[in-house]
């Protein structure tokens, strides 16, 4: 394998991080507020009527799901906007004419988007602490799930940012696909709580595996085996990387 041009990757990565930092207040305040709202509505109001799920207090039960919700939506929106904007403004010429391989371009963009969403995930984790006590049984696996999910969905976001030819399309997938799948993916409930038919249907939702695996790293409880969760994420990541390979090979929407 050819040596990576780390200077170029670092430059792109830091520039993308700096772009996020320009709106740092909005980036931090927004997840803190939305997490607090979820805790007020689901934790305090509804949670008082549901005592425990699989031996975990409802407030603590929804913490991993909330982090996943933030991770998925932020990864997709950061990464898609990151590549869409230079395409839209025309400044993509600089990236395409630089002596960088496609792998290096992806590392810069996806790396920055994933880092930002992981930071936000950790902010949600810290905010949750203000509302409920929770424990993390497998901290290392929690980090593995965090990194893999952020990377996978940032890659998906990057693909969306290349596919989108307008701001409407840019919003379409997060709004119509990611958010519904996350809400229906066991963020706020265990799939055991559903009727058997819907339990089977739910298993077709990939987010179920992400939330389940992530929740397992916290409390050791899961809807599906954590190994299956891990495999599903890796499968997803592999599929996204394969699509990216095709995009760069064919020049789709980047190089006529």
């Amino acid at each position: 394998m050819k040596r990576l041009n780390l200077q170029s990757v670092k430059t792109l990565y830091l520039a993308e991080m700096a772009r996020s930092m320009r709106t740092v207040l909005q980036s931090i305040v927004s997840p803190v507020i939305s997490t607090s709202l979820y805790f007020v509505v689901f934790g305090a109001a509804i949670g008082t009527r549901i005592s425990e799920v699989d031996g975990v207090s409802y407030g603590a039960f929804i913490v991993p799901g909330l982090i996943m919700l933030m991770l998925l939506t932020q990864s997709v929106s950061n990464a898609s906007f990151g590549i869409f904007f230079p395409r839209f403004s025309g400044s993509i010429y600089e990236i395409l004419s630089a002596p960088m391989s496609y792998v290096e371009v992806v590392l810069g963009y996806v790396g920055a988007a994933a880092t930002k969403s992981m930071i936000l995930g950790l902010i949600v984790l810290a905010t949750a602490r203000l509302f409920v006590p929770y424990s993390i049984e497998h901290p290392l696996m929690m980090l593995v799930f965090l990194v893999l999910t952020a990377t996978t969905f940032s890659t998906l976001g990057f693909i969306i940012g290349i596919w989108a030819d307008g701001f409407e399309k840019l919003q379409l997938v997060p709004l119509l696909v990611i958010t519904p799948l996350t809400f229906l993916g066991g963020t706020f409930y265990s799939i055991d709580m559903l009727p058997p038919f819907w339990q089977t249907v739910t298993l077709a939702n990939p987010v179920v595996y992400l939330v389940s695996g992530f929740r397992w790293s916290f409390y050791g409880i899961s809807d599906v085996s954590p190994v299956v969760s891990l495999l599903v994420i890796l499968l997803f990541l592999g599929a996204a990387v394969a699509v990216l390979r095709w995009i760069f090979k064919s020049g789709y929407r980047l190089k006529p």
Binding site: N5, Q7, S8, K10, T11, L12, A15, A18, R19, R22, P86, S89, G90, S91, Y93, E94, I95, L96, S97, A98, P99, M100, S101, G251, K255, P256
Partner: protein, 307 residues
């Protein structure tokens, strides 16, 4: 320095933007690519810089193939695009430093300072790009292209929408770069620019490179000269004694116009003969001036000819 062989580009909709283009650009020269809108100038530059995939043919930059050895080839190239494409919220210093880093070069504040000073952007280094005028933004694009010390610089319509003073400043910058050994390829609508700057000129039309010629040779080859003689007394017609010179009467008889080929060796003796004959018939000349075809005249006639 740059070798283009059999280069063709057909877009997905079937539009042939480049047709079998062959071109060699020498190290250290300024090469101007002229052509009407949509002729293929930008496509040619875009293929060389890696923005557009070629359909056929190959290109090397200093011997490096732009596809197989793209890293080496692109590292040598600086590109100034036609459109003003800047990220509005970054500062001048940051965006120029970003370009250097993107090309894998380590930080070098002294070089960035030198580039910014040369383009009179130093005072604006901490300004965000949205605060700059159009001309300043174009200079920033040039600074970005120069940030990584390229050996070849592509300028796609560098002075489009730039005022006369700034245009002259940019020409100075380009000359200075050439002086430093940078090879420069520019596309332009302004014939004046090509005439002022270029060593060689290529004319592209409908994707075909119809002519590549040394600028002076081109002007010599295709350039006609006109000698206008302003007379003291108006004439009713060209005197019979002067009929052999092919003169035309102009300015209601106040001027005689003599057209000749500036490159021809024989013409200088004809001018002497004409002046002697004028004296012989007693015509008194008040003033005289000559005019040589500009590149624009040549270009227009060339494009018309091939229509």
């Amino acid at each position: 320095m740059i070798r283009v062989e059999g280069l063709s580009k057909t877009f997905r909709d079937g539009f042939k933007a480049l047709i079998d283009v062959d071109l060699e650009i020498e190290r250290g020269e300024i090469f101007a690519l002229l052509g009407p809108n949509g002729a293929g100038k930008t496509t040619l530059i875009s293929v060389i810089c890696g923005l557009v995939n070629p359909t056929e043919g190959f290109v090397t930059v200093d011997g490096h193939d732009i596809v197989r050895q793209y890293r080496r080839a692109r590292a040598m190239i600086g590109l100034v695009p036609q459109e003003l494409t800047n990220e509005a919220f970054t500062t001048v210093w940051d965006t120029v430093s970003f370009s250097r880093g993107l090309f894998g070069k380590p930080k070098n504040p002294a070089h960035i300072e030198k580039v910014l000073r040369a383009l009179t952007l130093w005072e604006k280094r901490d300004n965000r790009l949205l605060e700059l005028s159009g001309g300043m933004k174009r200079r920033v694009l040039i600074a970005k292209a120069l940030s990584h010390e390229p050996q070849v610089l592509f300028l796609d319509e560098p002075t489009a929408g730039v005022d006369v003073e700034l245009r002259r400043e940019m020409w100075e910058v380009v000359r200075e770069l050439r002086h430093q050994g940078v090879t420069i390829i520019l596309t332009t609508h302004y014939i004046e620019e090509a005439e002022e700057m270029a060593d060689r000129i290529g004319v592209i039309r409908r994707g075909e490179l119809v002519l590549v010629e040394d600028k002076r040779a081109l002007m010599r080859k295709l350039g006609n000269k006109e000698l206008t003689l302003n007379l003291h007394e108006p004439l009713q017609g060209v005197p019979a004694a002067l009929a052999g010179h092919g003169l035309e009467l102009a300015d209601e008889g106040h001027a005689l116009v003599y057209s000749y080929d500036a490159a021809s060796q024989e013409e200088s003796s004809s001018i002497s003969g004409l002046l002697a004959d004028l004296e012989a018939v007693g015509l008194r000349v008040k003033d005289l001036h000559t005019r040589q075809s500009s590149l624009e005249d040549i270009f227009v006639s060339l494009v018309r000819e091939r229509h």
